[in-house]
Amino acid sequence: MPGVAARMRLTEGDQDFMRTARASITHHSRLAASLAVAALLGMSTSKATAQEPEPATREAVIETAQADKLPTLHPYVERKGERLMESLQNYLNGVHTGWHPFLESAYRGGGFAVGAGYQQYVSPYNFIDVRGSYTVSGYKRVEAEFVAPRLFERRARLSVLGGWRDATQVGFYGIGTTGTSVNDRLDYGFRRPYASALLTVKPARNPWMAQGGAEWTKWDERRPDPGRPSVDTKFTPATLAGLGADPTYLHAQGTVGFDWRTSPGYARRGGFYGVTAHEFHDRDSAFGFRQLDYEAIQHVPILREAWVLSLHAKASTTSKKVGEQIPFFMLPALGGGADLRGFNSWRFRDRDSLLLQAEWRIMANRYFDTAVFYDAGKVTSRRADLDLHRLKSDYGFGARFHAPFVNLLRIDVARSNERNLALVINTTAAF
C-alpha cells in the first residue's frame, strides 16, 4: 500500500496536528477521535488509493488537515443541558413564563409545601400568575395574581391578588408569653377567601418608599383536622375573643420607609427602616382594630462582606376600636421559621409583640452562606411591657443558598428551651 506507506511518514509537526485533530474531537467522542486519526493518516479508501503526494511544506501539512476537515463540517450542536440552563438563567433573571415551582405554604405552620404556578404575560411587562400549593399538613392555597410592575414610569408596582386558603391545624397555645405552655396546644382551622390590591411606590430614585393597599378577606373558622384538641374544647367565645366568629375584613394598610438594601430578597449591606399602619374594618363592627408595625433591618458587612452582621427588630402594637375586640387569630404572634425559629409556629400571641433577631452570616462562597443566629421576643397585653425583660429566645445555625438578589433556599436548625431542634426549610430570607 504505497499510498498508506507514504502517509505514514510523519513528521513531528504532522504528529502534532494528528494529536491536535484527535484531541479536538476526542473531547467529545472517542469515535470522532478514531475518525480524525484515520482522516489525517489518509486511511480512508480514497486517500489510501489516491497516490496523493506527501506534503512538502509545513503549510501543505496544515492545508491538508484543513481539507481533511471539510467532510466533517456541521453547525454547532447544542450540548446536553444547555436549554435547561437557558430556562434557569431566564428564571433567575426574572424572565419566566409558563410553569414554575411554587413552594409557599397557605399559612405559617403548614409544613413543607409543594406546588406549581403558571405565569402568563398579558402585556410586555404585566402578567398574571396562577398558582397553588399543598403542604404536608394538608394546607391548601390557590390564588391568582395580576402584577403591573412598572406603573407611573417605573415608580410603582401594583399587585391585585385573589385566592383561597385552607389551614387545617393552626396551633393555639393561649394568650401571652409566660402563662402558656407548649404542652397546651389546641388547634383550629379556617378557610379564607381573599382579594387584595397593593400598590408600592418609590417616589424617586432614592431609598424612600411608600406602600399602600387594601384587602378584602373573609375568615371562615372551622374545626381542625382530628389529632389534637380543638380550641373550642377549652375556650368559649366569652373567654376567647373571635372564637367561632367569621369576620369579614376590609383591611387597609400603608407603609413608609427607607430601604437601601441591594434587594429585599437577599442583601449583604444596607438597611430598611419603616412603619406600617393597618386598619382592619370588620363589616359587622365586632372585630375591627388597628395595628402598627415598626421594623428595622440593618446589614453590617465586615471583612469585605465575608461576614455580615444582620440585625432585625420588629414591634407590633394593636389597638381595639371602641366596642370591638381583636379575634385571637388576628393577634400579633411569634414562633416559627420567620421569627422565633426555635419555637412552634404561632407559639405566642397577644396584643403587642417584640422581636429581636441577630444573624452572623459567613460567606462560604458567592452563592452559599452559613449563619449563626439568635432570636428573642415576647408578646404582651400592654404596650408598656414591650421591653427587654423575660424575652423568649432561641439560637441556631443555618445555611443559605442564594442568587445575587434572591434567597433560593434557607435551612435553619434552631434550639430553644421548648424544642431541642427545630428544622426550618424556606425559600425566603429570614429578614
Partner: protein
C-alpha cells in the same frame, strides 16, 4: 462542536479503522519517517486554505458555560501537551486569531496609543439608536453617529464614573499590542438631546414580545449611569466590526463549521497566554460571550476572524462595586469554601488582606500582593487550565516588552479627569508587569534569540537582560548532528562559556541543508535553568538559520490523557 450521533455499527467500524491505523503506525519502518523540519519552517503565518463561508452563528448559554467551567473545567487535568499552533521556533505565527506585534517587533508610543483604531472617531453631534444591547453587565446601545458610522456605545455606571469606558479604551489597545484582534474603540460623549431613535428598533420585553424602543427605554437605560453636570454621558464607542457576525468562540475544541479551525482552542498558545495577560490586566471575565467571530472575505477567501471583543472587565472594573474576590477566586471553588465554612470565616482569604487605593475610575486593582500564579478569572477556561511553562514564558516576554513609557502612554488614552487615578493605574500595571517578568522569566530556562554565526552560538538571557536575575556562572552547549529524515542525533561536542557566546565545535557540518541541534543550559541560582533549551540550525549558504526551538523539550505528554476528562 459536538459530533452527531453515530450508530453502534459505525462506532465499531471507526474503532476498527483506528486499530488498523495504530497498527500501521507501529509497523512503519523508521526510515519512512518524514523530515522534522520542512523547507518553509518556521512558518510566519498559519495558512487558512478553505472556504469558511458556511460557518453559522452560535452563542453558548452564559449560565451553562459558567456552570460547566466551574464544576467540570475546574477539575480538568491538563494534558501537558505543548501548544499546537506554534511554529518550529516556539512562536505563534500570524493568523486570523493573532498578529505578532509587541515582543516580536518594536512598538512605538504613537502606534500603541492608536492601537486598533484605524479610522476617525465618531462624530457625537448626532446619534441614532439602531439597536439595544440585551445582554451583559454594563448597559449599551448600537448607534449611528452623525457621519453614518455604526458604533456600539458602552457607558459608566454611577458608582464607577470613567471606569468601564477608560478600561475599554486602554485594554483594547493593550490587547491589540499583545496581538489580538480588537474592536476600534474611542472615548466619546453621548448627549441625549441629540439622540434620535430609529423607529425600527425593537427591544425584547420580559413577555418575549419585541416592541419599539422608546424614549422611556432610553431614559431607563441612562438612569443608573454616571451623568455629567451638563447632562451628557461619557461613553466608549466601539466601531462595528467588518464581516458577518457568527457569535462567539469557545475556549476549547474547534468550530465544527470552520474547516480552517483545526487546532483545539485549548491548545492555541494565544488563548492559553490569556492566563498571563489576564492576570496582568485583571481580565477576570474570560468567557465565550466576550469573544466574537466574524466571517470576512480577505484576499479572495472567506474565513473566520476571531476577536477578543469585550476586554472591559479589566483593572478594577468588574461587575459590581462590592465584589472583592474577583481576580482572587473563581466564582466557586471547593477548598476556600470549606476553609471559610469550617473556620467560621476566621481563616482570611487573600482578597481580604489586600490593600486597595480605590479610585472610582480604576476600582479594586493592586500590585503589591499580586501573584500571577494564583490569579483567578471568574471561571476557568480549558485554555487557562492547559497553560504550560513555555506558554507563560512566551506571554511574560510580551508583557515585559511594555516599557514604563508605553504603559503610561496607553493609560493616558483612558482620558481620566483625575491625574492621580491615571498615575495609580500606571503604577499598578508596572508593578504587576514586573512581578510577571520576575516569576515567569526565571521559572524556566530563559535562553532567547539564539544565533549561530562565526563559529559561535550567541543568544540572550531574557531574565538577565531585564535585570531581574543574576547572570549564570556558566552556560553549556551540547552539540549534535541532526538527521532531519529520521530524527536521529549524533553527539558532536560540549562547549562552555561564562558569557552568552559559546564557541562552536570545529567540525560543524558544511553541506547545505544539514542541521545541527544545540542544547543550551545554564548554571545559576535557578535550578530550572539547568534544563536545556534545544535549538536547531540549518546550514544555508555560508551561514546557519534557526529552524527549531523547544523550550521544554520532551514535555509533550500524549493527548490521550485528554480522553480521561
Amino acid at each position: 462542536m459536538n459530533i452527531p450521533f453515530f450508530s453502534r455499527s459505525i462506532r465499531l467500524l471507526a474503532a476498527l479503522v483506528c486499530v488498523l491505523t495504530a497498527a500501521a503506525i507501529m509497523t512503519t519502518p523508521a526510515f519512512m519517517t518524514a523530515p522534522r523540519f520542512y523547507d518553509d519552517d518556521p512558518i510566519a503565518r498559519e495558512p487558512e486554505s478553505q472556504d469558511a463561508s458556511k460557518a453559522q452563528g452560535y452563542e453558548i448559554v452564559d449560565l451553562y458555560e459558567m456552570t460547566h467551567n466551574l464544576f467540570v473545567t475546574a477539575g480538568y487535568k491538563p494534558t501537558g501537551v505543548r501548544a499546537q499552533n506554534i511554529n518550529t521556533v516556539d512562536e505563534v505565527p500570524d493568523s486570523n486569531w493573532f498578529t505578532n506585534r509587541i515582543g516580536s517587533r518594536a512598538i512605538t508610543v504613537d502606534e500603541l496609543v492608536r492601537g486598533p483604531n484605524a479610522g476617525p472617531p465618531p462624530d457625537p453631534s448626532r446619534w441614532v439608536v439602531i439597536h439595544q444591547k440585551t445582554s451583559g453587565v454594563h448597559p449599551g446601545i448600537t448607534v449611528k453617529d452623525a457621519g453614518g458610522q455604526t458604533w456600539f456605545l458602552q457607558f459608566d455606571p454611577a458608582y464607577f464614573p470613567e471606569g468601564p469606558t477608560s478600561a475599554v479604551a486602554i485594554a483594547s489597545k493593550i490587547f491589540w499590542a499583545l496581538g489580538y484582534n480588537q474592536v476600534e474603540s474611542f472615548v466619546t460623549t453621548f448627549d441625549p438631546r441629540v439622540v434620535e431613535i430609529d423607529p425600527e428598533v425593537r427591544v425584547t420585553r420580559p413577555s418575549g414580545a419585541r416592541t419599539p424602543f422608546t424614549r422611556a427605554d432610553l431614559k431607563e437605560l441612562l438612569e443608573p449611569l454616571a451623568r455629567r453636570p451638563d447632562g451628557t454621558y461619557r461613553a466608549v464607542a466601539g466601531r462595528l466590526v467588518p464581516g458577518r457576525v457568527i457569535g462567539n468562540f469557545l475556549f476549547e475544541g474547534t468550530r465544527p463549521d470552520d474547516p480552517n479551525d483545526v487546532v483545539p482552542h485549548e491548545h492555541r498558545r494565544e488563548l492559553r497566554a490569556l492566563r498571563v495577560f489576564g492576570s496582568w490586566t485583571n481580565l477576570t471575565d474570560l468567557k465565550a460571550a466576550n469573544t466574537l467571530d466574524t466571517v470576512v472575505t480577505e484576499n479572495g477567501r472567506t474565513v473566520v476572524k476571531h476577536y477578543l471583543q469585550d476586554v472591559g472587565s479589566t483593572f478594577g472594573m468588574n461587575n459590581d462595586l462590592h465584589e472583592w474576590d474577583l481576580g482572587w477566586e473563581y466564582f466557586y471553588k471547593g477548598s476556600p469554601t470549606l476553609k471559610r465554612l469550617f473556620s467560621f470565616g476566621f481563616a482570611l482569604s487573600p482578597w481580604q488582606k489586600a490593600h486597595y487605593v480605590e479610585y472610582p475610575s480604576v476600582g479594586k486593582f493592586e500590585g503589591d500582593r499580586f501573584d500571577p500564579r494564583t490569579w483567578k478569572p471568574q471561571t476557568p477556561t480549558t485554555a487557562y487550565m492547559e497553560t504550560r511553562g513555555d506558554d507563560e514564558f512566551w506571554a511574560a516576554r510580551r508583557v515585559a516588552a511594555f516599557t514604563d513609557e508605553l504603559i503610561r502612554a496607553v493609560v493616558h488614552t483612558g482620558e481620566f479627569s483625575d491625574p492621580a487615578a491615571e498615575q495609580y493605574l500606571g503604577d499598578v500595571l508596572i508593578k504587576r508587569r514586573d512581578t510577571i517578568a520576575r516569576i515567569y522569566l526565571t521559572a524556566i530556562n530563559p535562553i532567547v534569540s539564539p544565533r549561530l554565526e562565526a563559529n559561535a552560538l550567541t543568544f540572550e538571557n531574557a531574565a538577565v537582560v531585564l535585570d531581574i536575575a543574576k547572570a549564570p556562572t556558566a552556560y553549556h552547549a551540547a552539540w549534535m548532528r541532526f538527521d532531519n529524515a529520521t530524527g536521529d542525533t549524533e553527539p558532536m561536542a560540549v562547549t562552555d562559556s561564562d558569557t552568552t557566546t559559546i564557541p562552536a565545535p570545529r567540525d560543524l557540518p558544511s553541506s547545505p541543508g544539514e542541521i545541527v541541534a544545540v542544547e543550551v543550559s545554564a548554571d545559576s541560582e535557578y535550578p530550572a535553568w539547568s534544563r536545556p533549551v534545544r535549538t536547531y540550525f540549518r546550514r544555508a549558504g555560508d551561514g546557519w538559520t534557526l529552524v527549531g526551538l523547544e523550550r521544554l523539550p520532551g514535555d509533550a505528554a500524549p493527548v490521550r490523557r485528554q480522553a480521561s476528562r
